[in-house]
Symmetry: C2
Subunit: 299 residues, 2 copies
Protein backbone atom coordinates (compact mmCIF):
# COMPACT_ATOMS: atom_id res chain seq x y z
CA UNK A 1 0.00 0.00 0.00
CA UNK A 2 1.20 3.47 -0.88
CA UNK A 3 0.78 6.77 0.96
CA UNK A 4 0.48 9.65 -1.50
CA UNK A 5 0.67 13.29 -0.41
CA UNK A 6 0.54 15.18 -3.72
CA UNK A 7 -2.53 15.62 -5.89
CA UNK A 8 -0.53 15.45 -9.14
CA UNK A 9 0.96 12.08 -8.16
CA UNK A 10 -2.47 10.69 -7.32
CA UNK A 11 -3.86 11.95 -10.66
CA UNK A 12 -0.99 10.29 -12.55
CA UNK A 13 -1.65 7.04 -10.71
CA UNK A 14 -5.38 7.30 -11.45
CA UNK A 15 -4.64 7.78 -15.15
CA UNK A 16 -2.43 4.71 -15.27
CA UNK A 17 -4.86 2.51 -13.31
CA UNK A 18 -7.74 3.66 -15.55
CA UNK A 19 -5.66 3.03 -18.68
CA UNK A 20 -5.32 -0.60 -17.56
CA UNK A 21 -9.11 -0.81 -17.45
CA UNK A 22 -9.12 -1.18 -13.68
CA UNK A 23 -11.82 0.46 -11.57
CA UNK A 24 -11.07 2.74 -8.61
CA UNK A 25 -13.31 3.22 -5.56
CA UNK A 26 -12.62 6.21 -3.32
CA UNK A 27 -13.54 6.31 0.37
CA UNK A 28 -13.12 9.90 1.61
CA UNK A 29 -12.51 10.12 5.36
CA UNK A 30 -11.21 12.52 7.98
CA UNK A 31 -9.30 9.68 9.67
CA UNK A 32 -9.90 8.39 13.23
CA UNK A 33 -11.12 5.30 11.45
CA UNK A 34 -13.55 2.86 13.06
CA UNK A 35 -15.24 -0.29 11.73
CA UNK A 36 -17.87 1.87 10.00
CA UNK A 37 -15.17 3.28 7.73
CA UNK A 38 -13.76 -0.19 7.14
CA UNK A 39 -17.18 -1.38 6.01
CA UNK A 40 -17.13 1.41 3.41
CA UNK A 41 -13.79 0.06 2.17
CA UNK A 42 -15.40 -3.40 1.88
CA UNK A 43 -18.27 -1.79 -0.06
CA UNK A 44 -15.68 -0.25 -2.40
CA UNK A 45 -13.86 -3.54 -2.90
CA UNK A 46 -17.14 -5.13 -3.99
CA UNK A 47 -17.53 -2.50 -6.72
CA UNK A 48 -14.01 -1.78 -7.96
CA UNK A 49 -10.57 -3.32 -8.46
CA UNK A 50 -8.79 -0.93 -6.10
CA UNK A 51 -9.96 1.02 -3.09
CA UNK A 52 -8.26 4.30 -2.26
CA UNK A 53 -8.87 6.00 1.08
CA UNK A 54 -8.34 9.71 1.58
CA UNK A 55 -7.49 10.96 5.07
CA UNK A 56 -7.80 14.72 5.42
CA UNK A 57 -9.29 16.71 8.28
CA UNK A 58 -10.87 19.41 6.14
CA UNK A 59 -10.75 22.80 7.86
CA UNK A 60 -13.42 24.44 5.70
CA UNK A 61 -16.22 22.14 6.88
CA UNK A 62 -15.69 22.97 10.55
CA UNK A 63 -17.76 25.94 11.63
CA UNK A 64 -16.26 25.63 15.12
CA UNK A 65 -12.43 26.02 15.37
CA UNK A 66 -12.36 24.06 18.65
CA UNK A 67 -14.10 21.14 16.98
CA UNK A 68 -11.44 21.24 14.24
CA UNK A 69 -8.55 21.42 16.71
CA UNK A 70 -10.00 18.68 18.88
CA UNK A 71 -10.97 16.33 16.04
CA UNK A 72 -9.18 13.01 16.72
CA UNK A 73 -6.03 12.43 14.65
CA UNK A 74 -4.75 8.86 14.65
CA UNK A 75 -2.86 8.66 11.36
CA UNK A 76 -0.49 5.73 12.04
CA UNK A 77 -3.21 3.40 13.29
CA UNK A 78 -5.52 4.58 10.48
CA UNK A 79 -2.92 3.55 7.92
CA UNK A 80 -2.64 0.10 9.49
CA UNK A 81 -6.40 -0.38 9.49
CA UNK A 82 -6.69 0.71 5.87
CA UNK A 83 -3.92 -1.64 4.82
CA UNK A 84 -5.53 -4.55 6.65
CA UNK A 85 -8.89 -3.75 5.03
CA UNK A 86 -7.37 -4.14 1.57
CA UNK A 87 -7.00 -0.58 0.30
CA UNK A 88 -4.04 0.05 -2.03
CA UNK A 89 -3.61 3.82 -1.66
CA UNK A 90 -3.93 6.29 1.20
CA UNK A 91 -4.22 9.86 -0.06
CA UNK A 92 -3.14 12.10 2.81
CA UNK A 93 -2.60 15.49 1.18
CA UNK A 94 -0.85 18.37 2.87
CA UNK A 95 -3.35 21.25 3.20
CA UNK A 96 -1.69 23.29 0.43
CA UNK A 97 -2.48 20.49 -2.04
CA UNK A 98 -6.22 21.01 -1.61
CA UNK A 99 -6.13 24.68 -0.65
CA UNK A 100 -3.32 26.43 -2.55
CA UNK A 101 -2.48 29.95 -1.42
CA UNK A 102 -5.25 32.36 -2.37
CA UNK A 103 -7.77 29.57 -3.01
CA UNK A 104 -11.16 31.21 -3.41
CA UNK A 105 -13.25 28.72 -5.38
CA UNK A 106 -16.28 27.12 -3.75
CA UNK A 107 -18.69 24.41 -4.82
CA UNK A 108 -22.07 24.91 -3.27
CA UNK A 109 -25.38 23.03 -3.35
CA UNK A 110 -28.50 25.11 -2.71
CA UNK A 111 -31.64 24.01 -0.88
CA UNK A 112 -30.43 20.57 0.24
CA UNK A 113 -27.60 22.26 2.19
CA UNK A 114 -29.85 24.60 4.12
CA UNK A 115 -31.84 22.69 6.76
CA UNK A 116 -30.70 20.35 9.56
CA UNK A 117 -26.89 20.36 9.88
CA UNK A 118 -26.74 23.18 7.33
CA UNK A 119 -28.74 25.38 9.68
CA UNK A 120 -26.80 24.31 12.79
CA UNK A 121 -23.39 24.56 11.13
CA UNK A 122 -23.26 27.54 8.72
CA UNK A 123 -20.86 26.91 5.84
CA UNK A 124 -20.43 23.24 6.74
CA UNK A 125 -21.79 21.75 3.52
CA UNK A 126 -20.03 24.32 1.34
CA UNK A 127 -16.80 23.04 2.90
CA UNK A 128 -17.87 19.42 2.32
CA UNK A 129 -18.89 19.83 -1.32
CA UNK A 130 -15.79 21.88 -2.09
CA UNK A 131 -13.36 19.38 -0.59
CA UNK A 132 -15.19 16.37 -2.03
CA UNK A 133 -15.01 17.96 -5.50
CA UNK A 134 -11.26 18.36 -5.02
CA UNK A 135 -10.89 14.75 -3.83
CA UNK A 136 -12.91 13.52 -6.82
CA UNK A 137 -10.71 15.50 -9.23
CA UNK A 138 -7.58 14.20 -7.49
CA UNK A 139 -8.49 10.50 -7.36
CA UNK A 140 -10.64 10.26 -10.54
CA UNK A 141 -12.56 7.31 -9.09
CA UNK A 142 -15.32 5.29 -10.76
CA UNK A 143 -17.14 4.90 -7.44
CA UNK A 144 -17.14 6.86 -4.18
CA UNK A 145 -18.53 5.50 -0.91
CA UNK A 146 -19.96 7.60 1.93
CA UNK A 147 -21.61 6.53 5.18
CA UNK A 148 -25.37 6.79 5.57
CA UNK A 149 -24.91 7.99 9.15
CA UNK A 150 -24.28 11.40 7.55
CA UNK A 151 -27.56 11.20 5.68
CA UNK A 152 -27.76 14.84 4.62
CA UNK A 153 -24.10 14.85 3.54
CA UNK A 154 -24.78 11.85 1.31
CA UNK A 155 -27.86 13.57 -0.19
CA UNK A 156 -25.92 16.79 -0.82
CA UNK A 157 -23.00 14.94 -2.44
CA UNK A 158 -25.35 12.90 -4.64
CA UNK A 159 -26.98 16.12 -5.80
CA UNK A 160 -23.63 17.79 -6.45
CA UNK A 161 -22.35 14.82 -8.43
CA UNK A 162 -25.51 14.69 -10.52
CA UNK A 163 -25.71 18.46 -11.11
CA UNK A 164 -22.07 18.89 -12.12
CA UNK A 165 -21.95 15.62 -14.05
CA UNK A 166 -19.17 13.88 -12.14
CA UNK A 167 -18.72 10.52 -13.90
CA UNK A 168 -18.71 8.77 -10.51
CA UNK A 169 -21.20 6.39 -8.91
CA UNK A 170 -22.06 7.60 -5.40
CA UNK A 171 -22.72 4.73 -3.00
CA UNK A 172 -24.11 4.91 0.53
CA UNK A 173 -22.83 2.46 3.15
CA UNK A 174 -25.08 1.35 6.03
CA UNK A 175 -24.43 2.80 9.49
CA UNK A 176 -22.49 0.47 11.79
CA UNK A 177 -23.33 0.54 15.50
CA UNK A 178 -21.66 -0.29 18.77
CA UNK A 179 -23.11 -3.11 20.90
CA UNK A 180 -25.34 -0.63 22.70
CA UNK A 181 -26.70 0.74 19.42
CA UNK A 182 -24.75 4.02 19.32
CA UNK A 183 -23.80 4.86 15.72
CA UNK A 184 -20.07 4.53 15.18
CA UNK A 185 -18.46 7.95 14.88
CA UNK A 186 -14.97 9.34 15.26
CA UNK A 187 -16.49 11.85 17.67
CA UNK A 188 -17.55 9.09 20.12
CA UNK A 189 -13.88 9.05 21.21
CA UNK A 190 -14.28 12.54 22.61
CA UNK A 191 -17.19 11.76 24.94
CA UNK A 192 -16.54 11.33 28.66
CA UNK A 193 -17.57 7.90 30.05
CA UNK A 194 -20.83 9.25 31.51
CA UNK A 195 -21.76 11.07 28.31
CA UNK A 196 -20.83 7.97 26.31
CA UNK A 197 -23.30 5.88 28.28
CA UNK A 198 -26.00 8.53 27.73
CA UNK A 199 -25.33 8.62 23.96
CA UNK A 200 -27.75 5.71 23.56
CA UNK A 201 -30.62 8.22 23.76
CA UNK A 202 -30.35 8.86 20.01
CA UNK A 203 -30.96 5.27 18.96
CA UNK A 204 -33.53 4.82 21.72
CA UNK A 205 -35.44 7.83 20.42
CA UNK A 206 -35.23 6.39 16.89
CA UNK A 207 -36.48 2.98 18.03
CA UNK A 208 -39.33 4.66 19.90
CA UNK A 209 -40.39 6.51 16.76
CA UNK A 210 -40.17 3.32 14.70
CA UNK A 211 -42.37 1.47 17.18
CA UNK A 212 -44.90 4.31 17.28
CA UNK A 213 -45.09 4.40 13.48
CA UNK A 214 -45.50 0.62 13.35
CA UNK A 215 -48.37 0.99 15.84
CA UNK A 216 -50.08 3.46 13.51
CA UNK A 217 -48.91 6.86 14.78
CA UNK A 218 -48.76 9.32 11.86
CA UNK A 219 -48.64 12.67 13.67
CA UNK A 220 -45.29 14.39 13.13
CA UNK A 221 -45.86 16.49 16.22
CA UNK A 222 -46.56 13.49 18.46
CA UNK A 223 -43.54 11.59 17.12
CA UNK A 224 -41.19 14.53 17.65
CA UNK A 225 -42.55 15.18 21.15
CA UNK A 226 -41.68 11.60 22.12
CA UNK A 227 -38.22 11.97 20.59
CA UNK A 228 -37.60 15.14 22.59
CA UNK A 229 -38.75 13.50 25.80
CA UNK A 230 -36.37 10.60 25.27
CA UNK A 231 -33.42 12.94 24.63
CA UNK A 232 -34.27 14.91 27.79
CA UNK A 233 -33.79 11.75 29.84
CA UNK A 234 -30.01 12.10 29.38
CA UNK A 235 -28.77 14.77 31.81
CA UNK A 236 -25.75 15.79 29.69
CA UNK A 237 -27.72 15.86 26.42
CA UNK A 238 -29.25 18.94 24.82
CA UNK A 239 -31.15 18.68 21.58
CA UNK A 240 -29.79 20.55 18.56
CA UNK A 241 -32.55 19.37 16.25
CA UNK A 242 -35.06 16.56 15.79
CA UNK A 243 -36.86 16.79 12.47
CA UNK A 244 -38.98 14.79 10.07
CA UNK A 245 -38.19 15.42 6.40
CA UNK A 246 -38.61 14.04 2.92
CA UNK A 247 -35.65 11.66 2.36
CA UNK A 248 -34.99 12.99 -1.18
CA UNK A 249 -35.74 16.72 -1.12
CA UNK A 250 -35.22 17.17 2.66
CA UNK A 251 -38.40 19.28 2.59
CA UNK A 252 -40.37 19.31 5.87
CA UNK A 253 -42.65 16.33 6.27
CA UNK A 254 -46.42 16.96 6.30
CA UNK A 255 -48.19 17.05 9.69
CA UNK A 256 -49.47 13.51 9.02
CA UNK A 257 -46.77 11.24 7.62
CA UNK A 258 -47.87 9.72 4.31
CA UNK A 259 -44.74 7.94 3.05
CA UNK A 260 -41.07 7.22 3.83
CA UNK A 261 -39.86 9.99 6.14
CA UNK A 262 -36.40 10.82 7.41
CA UNK A 263 -36.08 11.22 11.17
CA UNK A 264 -32.87 13.22 11.68
CA UNK A 265 -31.36 13.95 15.08
CA UNK A 266 -28.47 16.05 16.35
CA UNK A 267 -27.67 16.16 20.05
CA UNK A 268 -24.99 18.01 22.01
CA UNK A 269 -23.35 16.28 24.99
CA UNK A 270 -21.55 18.26 27.66
CA UNK A 271 -18.34 17.07 29.35
CA UNK A 272 -18.77 14.74 32.32
CA UNK A 273 -19.26 16.38 35.75
CA UNK A 274 -15.71 15.28 36.69
CA UNK A 275 -14.33 17.12 33.63
CA UNK A 276 -13.72 14.11 31.40
CA UNK A 277 -14.59 14.42 27.73
CA UNK A 278 -15.35 17.45 25.59
CA UNK A 279 -18.43 19.16 24.20
CA UNK A 280 -19.48 16.73 21.48
CA UNK A 281 -22.30 16.84 18.95
CA UNK A 282 -23.63 13.51 17.66
CA UNK A 283 -26.03 12.83 14.80
CA UNK A 284 -28.11 9.84 13.84
CA UNK A 285 -31.02 9.16 11.52
CA UNK A 286 -33.52 6.62 10.27
CA UNK A 287 -35.98 6.55 7.39
CA UNK A 288 -39.34 5.75 8.96
CA UNK A 289 -41.62 3.64 6.77
CA UNK A 290 -45.30 4.15 7.52
CA UNK A 291 -47.25 1.31 5.92
CA UNK A 292 -51.00 1.39 5.50
CA UNK A 293 -51.84 1.60 9.20
CA UNK A 294 -54.39 -0.68 10.94
CA UNK A 295 -56.69 2.35 11.36
CA UNK A 296 -56.83 3.16 7.65
CA UNK A 297 -56.64 -0.41 6.39
CA UNK A 298 -59.64 -1.76 4.48
CA UNK A 299 -59.56 -5.01 6.45
Amino acid sequence: MEIIRKTALLQARADSVRAEGRRIALVPTMGALHPGHLSLIAEGLARADEVWVSIFVNPTQFNDPEDFEGYPRTFESDVEKVRAAGATVVFAPTPDQLYPEGAETWVEVGSLSEPLCGASRPGHFRGVTTVVSKLFLAAKPHVAVFGEKDFQQLAVIRRMARDLGFDIEIVGGATLREDDGVAMSSRNLRLGPAARSQATVLIRAIHGAERAVAAGERSAQALLEDVRKTIEEAPQASLDYAELRDPDSLAEAPPQLDGPTLLALAVHFSPDPDGQGADVRLIDNRVLLPQASPRTSTE
Copy 2:
Protein backbone atom coordinates in the same frame (compact mmCIF):
# COMPACT_ATOMS: atom_id res chain seq x y z
CA MET B 1 -16.56 14.30 -37.16
CA GLU B 2 -19.21 13.35 -34.66
CA ILE B 3 -21.92 15.47 -33.02
CA ILE B 4 -22.60 14.28 -29.46
CA ARG B 5 -25.58 15.50 -27.45
CA LYS B 6 -25.36 13.41 -24.26
CA THR B 7 -22.83 13.91 -21.47
CA ALA B 8 -22.59 10.18 -20.74
CA LEU B 9 -21.69 9.42 -24.36
CA LEU B 10 -18.99 12.08 -24.37
CA GLN B 11 -17.55 10.75 -21.11
CA ALA B 12 -17.44 7.22 -22.52
CA ARG B 13 -15.67 8.52 -25.61
CA ALA B 14 -13.20 10.46 -23.46
CA ASP B 15 -12.41 7.33 -21.46
CA SER B 16 -11.69 5.32 -24.59
CA VAL B 17 -9.57 8.06 -26.20
CA ARG B 18 -7.61 8.48 -22.97
CA ALA B 19 -7.15 4.71 -22.64
CA GLU B 20 -5.43 4.78 -26.05
CA GLY B 21 -2.98 7.33 -24.66
CA ARG B 22 -4.33 10.05 -26.92
CA ARG B 23 -4.64 13.63 -25.68
CA ILE B 24 -7.87 15.66 -25.88
CA ALA B 25 -8.09 19.44 -26.20
CA LEU B 26 -11.44 21.08 -25.47
CA VAL B 27 -12.49 24.43 -26.96
CA PRO B 28 -15.65 25.58 -25.16
CA THR B 29 -17.77 27.98 -27.25
CA MET B 30 -21.26 29.42 -27.42
CA GLY B 31 -21.29 28.97 -31.22
CA ALA B 32 -21.56 31.79 -33.80
CA LEU B 33 -18.02 30.82 -34.61
CA HIS B 34 -15.57 33.25 -36.21
CA PRO B 35 -11.88 32.93 -37.11
CA GLY B 36 -10.96 33.71 -33.49
CA HIS B 37 -12.60 30.47 -32.40
CA LEU B 38 -10.93 28.59 -35.25
CA SER B 39 -7.54 29.84 -34.07
CA LEU B 40 -8.33 28.31 -30.65
CA ILE B 41 -8.96 24.99 -32.42
CA ALA B 42 -5.56 25.34 -34.12
CA GLU B 43 -4.04 26.04 -30.69
CA GLY B 44 -5.66 22.85 -29.43
CA LEU B 45 -4.39 20.78 -32.36
CA ALA B 46 -0.87 21.92 -31.55
CA ARG B 47 -1.20 20.55 -28.01
CA ALA B 48 -3.33 17.40 -28.31
CA ASP B 49 -4.24 14.55 -30.65
CA GLU B 50 -7.91 15.46 -30.87
CA VAL B 51 -9.76 18.74 -30.54
CA TRP B 52 -13.31 18.70 -29.28
CA VAL B 53 -15.48 21.82 -29.55
CA SER B 54 -18.48 22.38 -27.32
CA ILE B 55 -21.30 24.58 -28.60
CA PHE B 56 -23.74 25.60 -25.90
CA VAL B 57 -25.34 28.99 -25.30
CA ASN B 58 -25.24 28.84 -21.52
CA PRO B 59 -28.29 30.53 -19.99
CA THR B 60 -26.81 30.94 -16.51
CA GLN B 61 -24.07 33.32 -17.63
CA PHE B 62 -26.48 35.81 -19.18
CA ASN B 63 -27.61 38.40 -16.68
CA ASP B 64 -29.82 39.93 -19.41
CA PRO B 65 -32.55 37.64 -20.86
CA GLU B 66 -32.69 39.72 -24.07
CA ASP B 67 -28.98 39.21 -24.60
CA PHE B 68 -29.54 35.45 -24.21
CA GLU B 69 -32.50 35.38 -26.61
CA GLY B 70 -30.70 37.53 -29.16
CA TYR B 71 -27.35 35.75 -28.98
CA PRO B 72 -26.54 34.57 -32.54
CA ARG B 73 -27.23 30.88 -33.21
CA THR B 74 -25.67 29.51 -36.38
CA PHE B 75 -25.33 25.81 -35.61
CA GLU B 76 -25.12 24.30 -39.11
CA SER B 77 -22.44 26.67 -40.34
CA ASP B 78 -20.60 26.31 -37.00
CA VAL B 79 -20.43 22.56 -37.52
CA GLU B 80 -19.00 23.01 -41.01
CA LYS B 81 -16.35 25.43 -39.74
CA VAL B 82 -15.36 23.13 -36.90
CA ARG B 83 -15.08 20.16 -39.25
CA ALA B 84 -12.93 22.16 -41.68
CA ALA B 85 -10.70 23.30 -38.82
CA GLY B 86 -9.90 19.69 -37.91
CA ALA B 87 -11.97 19.03 -34.78
CA THR B 88 -13.23 15.46 -34.33
CA VAL B 89 -16.14 16.01 -31.95
CA VAL B 90 -18.79 18.68 -31.50
CA PHE B 91 -20.43 18.48 -28.08
CA ALA B 92 -23.80 20.21 -28.41
CA PRO B 93 -25.69 19.15 -25.30
CA THR B 94 -29.39 19.66 -24.80
CA PRO B 95 -29.89 21.98 -21.80
CA ASP B 96 -31.09 19.15 -19.53
CA GLN B 97 -27.70 17.45 -19.95
CA LEU B 98 -25.91 20.31 -18.21
CA TYR B 99 -28.81 21.51 -16.04
CA PRO B 100 -30.89 18.51 -14.96
CA GLU B 101 -34.23 19.28 -13.31
CA GLY B 102 -33.70 20.77 -9.87
CA ALA B 103 -30.03 21.57 -10.52
CA GLU B 104 -28.84 23.75 -7.65
CA THR B 105 -25.07 23.32 -7.56
CA TRP B 106 -22.82 26.28 -8.31
CA VAL B 107 -19.09 26.68 -8.73
CA GLU B 108 -17.97 30.15 -7.75
CA VAL B 109 -14.65 31.98 -7.68
CA GLY B 110 -14.35 34.84 -5.17
CA SER B 111 -12.47 38.09 -5.62
CA LEU B 112 -11.42 37.58 -9.26
CA SER B 113 -15.10 37.40 -10.23
CA GLU B 114 -16.08 40.66 -8.57
CA PRO B 115 -14.70 43.63 -10.54
CA LEU B 116 -15.03 44.58 -14.22
CA CYS B 117 -17.54 42.32 -16.00
CA GLY B 118 -18.41 40.75 -12.64
CA ALA B 119 -19.62 44.15 -11.42
CA SER B 120 -21.44 44.98 -14.67
CA ARG B 121 -23.01 41.55 -15.05
CA PRO B 122 -24.04 40.14 -11.64
CA GLY B 123 -23.90 36.34 -11.60
CA HIS B 124 -22.12 36.16 -14.96
CA PHE B 125 -18.94 34.46 -13.77
CA ARG B 126 -20.80 32.10 -11.48
CA GLY B 127 -22.60 30.92 -14.62
CA VAL B 128 -19.31 30.66 -16.51
CA THR B 129 -17.41 28.70 -13.85
CA THR B 130 -20.37 26.40 -13.26
CA VAL B 131 -20.85 25.52 -16.93
CA VAL B 132 -17.12 25.23 -17.60
CA SER B 133 -16.82 22.79 -14.68
CA LYS B 134 -19.59 20.73 -16.22
CA LEU B 135 -17.94 20.82 -19.66
CA PHE B 136 -14.60 19.78 -18.12
CA LEU B 137 -16.28 16.85 -16.34
CA ALA B 138 -18.08 15.87 -19.53
CA ALA B 139 -15.12 16.01 -21.94
CA LYS B 140 -12.29 15.05 -19.53
CA PRO B 141 -9.76 16.96 -21.64
CA HIS B 142 -6.02 17.26 -21.07
CA VAL B 143 -6.03 20.84 -22.35
CA ALA B 144 -8.70 23.54 -22.63
CA VAL B 145 -8.32 26.66 -24.77
CA PHE B 146 -10.02 30.01 -24.11
CA GLY B 147 -9.69 33.33 -25.92
CA GLU B 148 -7.69 36.14 -24.33
CA LYS B 149 -10.28 38.64 -25.53
CA ASP B 150 -12.25 37.54 -22.46
CA PHE B 151 -9.30 38.29 -20.23
CA GLN B 152 -11.13 38.18 -16.91
CA GLN B 153 -12.94 34.99 -17.88
CA LEU B 154 -9.60 33.34 -18.62
CA ALA B 155 -8.20 34.54 -15.26
CA VAL B 156 -11.27 33.27 -13.39
CA ILE B 157 -11.15 29.87 -15.13
CA ARG B 158 -7.42 29.50 -14.47
CA ARG B 159 -8.04 30.20 -10.79
CA MET B 160 -10.95 27.78 -10.65
CA ALA B 161 -8.95 25.01 -12.34
CA ARG B 162 -6.03 25.56 -9.98
CA ASP B 163 -8.15 25.83 -6.82
CA LEU B 164 -10.27 22.73 -7.50
CA GLY B 165 -7.36 20.75 -8.94
CA PHE B 166 -8.72 20.05 -12.41
CA ASP B 167 -6.03 17.98 -14.14
CA ILE B 168 -6.32 20.21 -17.21
CA GLU B 169 -3.87 22.66 -18.75
CA ILE B 170 -5.62 26.00 -19.34
CA VAL B 171 -4.34 27.77 -22.45
CA GLY B 172 -5.08 31.32 -23.60
CA GLY B 173 -5.36 32.04 -27.32
CA ALA B 174 -4.44 35.47 -28.71
CA THR B 175 -7.27 37.80 -29.75
CA LEU B 176 -7.91 37.87 -33.49
CA ARG B 177 -9.00 41.15 -35.03
CA GLU B 178 -10.87 42.34 -38.10
CA ASP B 179 -9.00 44.44 -40.67
CA ASP B 180 -10.02 47.62 -38.86
CA GLY B 181 -8.70 46.30 -35.53
CA VAL B 182 -12.04 45.42 -33.91
CA ALA B 183 -11.65 42.27 -31.78
CA MET B 184 -13.53 39.35 -33.33
CA SER B 185 -16.66 38.57 -31.33
CA SER B 186 -19.90 36.75 -32.01
CA ARG B 187 -21.64 39.90 -30.78
CA ASN B 188 -20.20 41.99 -33.64
CA LEU B 189 -22.90 40.38 -35.83
CA ARG B 190 -25.56 42.20 -33.82
CA LEU B 191 -24.21 45.73 -34.39
CA GLY B 192 -25.89 47.98 -36.96
CA PRO B 193 -23.56 49.15 -39.77
CA ALA B 194 -23.06 52.58 -38.18
CA ALA B 195 -22.34 51.11 -34.74
CA ARG B 196 -20.02 48.58 -36.35
CA SER B 197 -17.93 51.34 -37.88
CA GLN B 198 -17.78 53.10 -34.49
CA ALA B 199 -16.68 49.90 -32.73
CA THR B 200 -13.09 50.77 -33.62
CA VAL B 201 -13.06 53.18 -30.65
CA LEU B 202 -12.08 50.35 -28.31
CA ILE B 203 -8.87 49.44 -30.14
CA ARG B 204 -8.14 53.12 -30.83
CA ALA B 205 -8.40 53.85 -27.11
CA ILE B 206 -6.09 50.91 -26.41
CA HIS B 207 -3.54 52.06 -28.99
CA GLY B 208 -3.70 55.57 -27.52
CA ALA B 209 -2.91 54.25 -24.07
CA GLU B 210 -0.08 52.09 -25.41
CA ARG B 211 1.46 55.10 -27.15
CA ALA B 212 1.12 57.25 -24.04
CA VAL B 213 2.78 54.61 -21.88
CA ALA B 214 5.58 54.22 -24.43
CA ALA B 215 6.07 57.99 -24.26
CA GLY B 216 6.47 57.78 -20.49
CA GLU B 217 2.97 58.45 -19.15
CA ARG B 218 2.49 56.57 -15.85
CA SER B 219 -0.57 58.32 -14.39
CA ALA B 220 -3.55 55.97 -14.27
CA GLN B 221 -5.90 58.93 -14.12
CA ALA B 222 -4.43 60.59 -17.20
CA LEU B 223 -4.46 57.34 -19.17
CA LEU B 224 -8.09 56.62 -18.30
CA GLU B 225 -9.16 60.17 -19.10
CA ASP B 226 -7.74 59.79 -22.60
CA VAL B 227 -9.48 56.44 -23.00
CA ARG B 228 -12.81 57.97 -22.00
CA LYS B 229 -12.36 60.86 -24.42
CA THR B 230 -11.69 58.46 -27.27
CA ILE B 231 -14.80 56.39 -26.47
CA GLU B 232 -16.90 59.56 -26.34
CA GLU B 233 -15.98 60.29 -29.96
CA ALA B 234 -18.36 57.51 -31.03
CA PRO B 235 -21.91 58.88 -30.89
CA GLN B 236 -23.57 55.48 -30.30
CA ALA B 237 -21.03 54.36 -27.68
CA SER B 238 -21.43 54.65 -23.92
CA LEU B 239 -18.71 53.48 -21.60
CA ASP B 240 -19.53 50.64 -19.21
CA TYR B 241 -16.06 50.58 -17.67
CA ALA B 242 -12.45 51.50 -18.43
CA GLU B 243 -10.09 50.26 -15.75
CA LEU B 244 -6.43 49.60 -15.04
CA ARG B 245 -5.80 46.48 -12.97
CA ASP B 246 -3.16 43.98 -11.98
CA PRO B 247 -3.19 41.26 -14.68
CA ASP B 248 -2.97 38.41 -12.12
CA SER B 249 -4.99 39.51 -9.10
CA LEU B 250 -7.22 42.01 -10.99
CA ALA B 251 -6.61 44.37 -8.05
CA GLU B 252 -6.79 48.09 -8.91
CA ALA B 253 -3.57 49.46 -10.34
CA PRO B 254 -1.65 52.06 -8.29
CA PRO B 255 -2.06 55.74 -9.26
CA GLN B 256 1.37 55.57 -10.96
CA LEU B 257 1.77 52.40 -13.04
CA ASP B 258 4.85 50.46 -11.96
CA GLY B 259 4.63 47.22 -13.93
CA PRO B 260 2.51 45.26 -16.41
CA THR B 261 -1.05 46.57 -16.12
CA LEU B 262 -4.29 45.35 -17.65
CA LEU B 263 -6.34 47.98 -19.48
CA ALA B 264 -9.86 46.52 -19.64
CA LEU B 265 -12.72 48.14 -21.55
CA ALA B 266 -16.44 47.47 -21.89
CA VAL B 267 -18.56 49.69 -24.12
CA HIS B 268 -22.27 49.63 -24.94
CA PHE B 269 -23.41 50.50 -28.48
CA SER B 270 -26.96 51.58 -29.19
CA PRO B 271 -28.89 50.51 -32.32
CA ASP B 272 -28.32 52.64 -35.42
CA PRO B 273 -30.54 55.74 -35.84
CA ASP B 274 -32.40 53.92 -38.64
CA GLY B 275 -33.19 51.05 -36.26
CA GLN B 276 -30.64 48.54 -37.56
CA GLY B 277 -28.75 46.46 -35.01
CA ALA B 278 -29.39 45.84 -31.34
CA ASP B 279 -28.04 47.09 -28.03
CA VAL B 280 -24.64 45.41 -27.93
CA ARG B 281 -21.89 45.42 -25.31
CA LEU B 282 -18.32 44.87 -26.52
CA ILE B 283 -15.19 44.25 -24.49
CA ASP B 284 -11.50 44.47 -25.29
CA ASN B 285 -8.27 44.58 -23.32
CA ARG B 286 -4.50 44.94 -23.47
CA VAL B 287 -1.72 44.42 -20.95
CA LEU B 288 0.23 47.68 -20.95
CA LEU B 289 3.96 47.27 -20.38
CA PRO B 290 5.60 50.33 -18.84
CA GLN B 291 9.35 49.99 -19.30
CA ALA B 292 11.85 52.21 -17.54
CA SER B 293 10.68 55.49 -19.04
CA PRO B 294 13.01 58.08 -20.67
CA ARG B 295 12.32 60.44 -17.74
CA THR B 296 13.50 57.96 -15.14
CA SER B 297 16.22 56.35 -17.23
CA THR B 298 19.83 56.76 -16.14
CA GLU B 299 20.96 57.58 -19.66
